[in-house]
Amino acid sequence: MNTPLRRVGLAMMAMFLLLLGNATYVQVIKADDYRKNPLNNRVILDQYSRERGQIIASDGTPLAAVQKTDDRLEYLRTYANGPVFAPVTGYFSWIYGAGGMERAEDDLLNGSDDRLFTSRVSDLITGRDPKGGSLQLTIDAKLQQAAFDQLQSQGVTGTVVAIKPDTGEILAMASTPSYDPNLLASHDADVQEDTWAAFEADPAKPTLNRAVHENYPPGSTFKLVVAAAALAEGKTKDSPVDGRPVITLPGTNTTLPNFNDTTCGDGVTATLQEALAKSCNTAFAVLANELGADKLRDKAAEFGIGEQDLTIPLSVVPSTLGPISDTPSLYQTGIGQKDVRVTPLANAVLAATIANGGVRMQPHLVGKILAPDLQTISETKPDEAAEAMEPEHATALRDMMIASENNTSGGGKLRNVTIASKTGTAEHGEDVRATKPHAWYVAFAPAEKPEIAIAVIVENGGQQGLSATGGRVAAPIGRAVIGAYLGGR
């Protein structure tokens, strides 16, 4: 009887070996696949059960915080005043992932970032729950609120970006229509799913951060780049430029008129300053042709247009001049049409660069990185990205922009502050006559010692529709935002 018993023993050993072998396969060889499988809730649950770091505004106003809950996700992400700051904070959903800053700085907020190494080690020793680090943004909470209110009260689809010219700090980044990230952070899966489906179905794209994730034809605001290139080539604000009310694009029958067929100067020539102030299309189209595509492209690049992988740390879609394949295209590029596309952020950087004496500062949203105990770990230092203009050229362009502001209609002018600005009314779409134009306003103030540079765009002219211009639609919003910033202290 002992022989079969021994064989049974061997069979038992074989069974255990099989189990061990299979356990090796599951837990060692396939372990990573299982761990990273999207159906595996463990990783996301771990993130939720850890106290996620806060996102606060530059003055300490909490924008995103956590609230202890009694369900198994332990912490609920909350956004005070969600829709106002949503383009910046983004959302944090355990079904749809994260967006905005929540995504860009996820490692820091969830505590796995290397910069938090020391505090993690001390947590390990003291046995406290690991916490995420916090972010102090450069966003000015009051200004952001003002910008959002301006857009919201007009009921428009658009965005306002405000930058501090001498540092590159982004002071405000509002986008409408907006959304409430609290709904996406809900611990109720149904709420998340319904909200997400509604956002996806909404043609107004509420979750789109228009300031950085969308680019638009810049229209006349691009004349600033052309003017800067011309100044660099030795022109002054008094240099004569083309003043005809309408020209025909070379080699075609297409005409290119000034807005409302306005005459600039004496109808033959005008000064560069007048051409910019009156936004003469013919003058800048011809000027662009004189400069040539390469010089235009180089100057644009110095202003950051064409930069591919900009992160602030939100990723920014690239701005571009397009291919400029022939001379008519070059003419149209000169007035910011054809294939030129810029993000509202890029236009704000353009204004900020001129305001900062031609020095382009790297735009950024993160002011300080804070440890879980709110000790500062690191601080973003202003970073000079490029010297786009000579200081005297910047001053000349500033004066031209002051003239432009004085020539711009539209309400909301500020009494005690000199603004330097440029408006734009950008045609777009297949049928430009029937499509409502985008209204632009880029500006900085006070002109003598700039403290804020902004770009405003109102998609499709807002309420004014076909008759919209940058001056009538976008300028009042921009001026109100500047007023809120300068008057708010």
């Binding site: 009887m1 189990l19 356990a23 159906l39 463990r42 369900d71 198994r72």
Partner: protein
């Protein structure tokens, strides 16, 4: 070794507390000491009533049981904040399991004391067989108010506050019966029938017991929808037959019958098809029927080589965490290393049992010991194999680890029987009668032996 087991269990408990509540109290020390105290009492009982018993079996059992208690407690902590769909909350299982452990240990000691020789069991073989059969089939045929269907299986008898799984006891009762039956009728089964393909087939009329076992296995599956138990039961009978007759033909026949039965079941029953499908590809229905096995695999995978640490995993994600899937929780929190260690403890336990069976002198003891040891190993194979997707998942508990009074009681009886057999195997033979002393050589008569010429 018992003290070592107690230390391990206490440190495991400390880790759980540390990871879950960040506060250590003196309570743990008392719990550890209490555990050690209980173990000492059991140890003394074993010394007294089975002084020659294998010294490794009891510490293995104690370690597994203690680890099981810690894991069940740990799962209680995890489930404490979970609210079920019907609004009810989790009722802690650990205190009940501690109570069951106490009862089981008392039963264990009683069994050791009352049963001074395992051969007495053989005398009541038929009685046990009948009892076992009744216990096995009872929940399947009784109306559902007393035998409710839980998680699709109809294997419980419910008496108000507590419920038992008679199948767990039936397993041992029937094993005793089969061992006794086979020992008495052993010669019958070795008579050769026809020879086919180099195998001596048994005579058709001797197939009775095998067919009966097969029928019982099938009926468990049909009436109670308990695949694991039917597989376990059939496997045990097959091994007992093989050991008793020393004929591989039984095994071949049995495997063929098993394949036929399994294939038919797969064709006929929806719940069997679902199990097989989830085994082949659990991702087909990740939120439905594949959920259990997927969560188990995710847990094991997330645990990886060294695990998430005791108290650091997410057993609330795994369904049935404290019964069928308790090894998955161990795999997640202690990693591959911990799971292997647990498997090794089981291996040691089963092999020690088998060694006793090899060493014991009576055939009944050999059969019973071999059967008990194999049952332990096979049960682990079925449950861990199911959890790690080696074989289709069949709901069955892990001996000593899983939550469940019946399982614990039955397995402690099993351990008592193994100890009894090993005691008999290792006991020195009854001291032989002293031989009359031979007188010293000098006192012998001297005899002249003539030299051969």
């Amino acid at each position: 070794m018992l003290a070592f087991a107690a230390t391990l269990v206490t440190s495991a408990l400390i880790l759980v507390e540390a990871n879950q509540e960040q506060e250590l109290t003196m309570r743990i020390v008392w719990l550890g000491l209490a555990y050690l105290g209980v173990l000492t009492v059991v140890h003394l009982a074993v010394r007294k009533w089975a002084p020659y018993a294998d010294p490794v079996i009891m510490p293995c059992v104690a370690l597994l049981n203690g680890l099981g208690l810690v894991m069940i407690y740990r799962i209680d902590l995890a489930m404490a904040d979970v609210k079920f769909a019907d609004g009810s909350t989790w009722s802690p299982a650990a205190p009940k399991q501690v109570l069951w452990t106490a009862i089981a240990l008392v039963l264990f000691c009683t069994a050791l004391k009352v049963l001074s020789d395992h051969r007495t069991l053989a005398r009541y073989g038929y009685t046990f067989g009948l009892l076992g059969l009744v216990a096995l089939v009872l929940p399947g045929v009784l109306p559902s108010f007393i035998a409710p269907e839980i998680n699709g299986a109809k294997i419980w008898l419910s008496f108000g506050a507590f419920s038992i799984q008679p199948g767990e006891f039936a397993k041992i009762l029937l094993m005793v019966f089969f061992a006794a039956f086979l020992v008495s009728k052993r010669d019958l089964f070795t008579i050769a029938g026809r020879r086919v393909l180099g195998l001596d087939l048994p005579r058709a009329r001797d197939l009775g017991p095998l067919i009966a076992a097969w029928a019982v296995g099938v009926s468990i599956m049909v009436l109670q929808k308990d695949l694991g138990s039917s597989l376990l039961f059939f496997g045990i009978v097959l091994v007992l037959l093989y050991v008793a007759t020393e004929r591989a033909a039984w095994v071949v026949l049995g495997v063929v019958m098993f394949c036929v039965g399994a294939f038919a079941a797969w064709k006929l029953f929806r719940h069997v098809q679902v199990r097989v499908q989830n085994w082949l590809d659990p991702f087909i229905d990740p939120y439905g029927t594949g959920h259990q096995i997927l969560e188990s695999l995710f847990g094991l995978g997330t645990g990886g080589l060294f695990g998430a640490g005791l108290g650091g995993g997410r057993p609330d994600e795994i369904p049935e965490a404290n019964t069928d899937f308790i090894t998955a929780v161990i795999g997640e929190e202690l990693g591959f290393v911990g799971l292997s260690a647990v498997l090794l403890i089981y291996t040691v336990l089963a092999l020690r049992g088998l060694r006793s069976a090899l060493a014991v002198r009576d055939t009944f003891g050999k059969l019973l010991g071999g059967g008990l040891a194999f049952a332990m190993a096979f049960q682990i194979f079925i449950v861990v194999g199911g959890v790690t997707k080696l074989i289709p998942m069949t709901g069955i508990t892990a001996p000593f680890l899983s939550y469940g009074g019946s399982s614990l009681l039955a397995n402690y009886i099993l351990a008592a029987l193994l100890l009894r057999i090993s005691d008999a195997a290792r006991a020195p033979k009854a001291t032989p009668k002293p031989r009359p002393q031979q007188p010293a050589i000098a006192d012998q008569f001297t005899v002249m032996v003539e030299r051969p010429k």
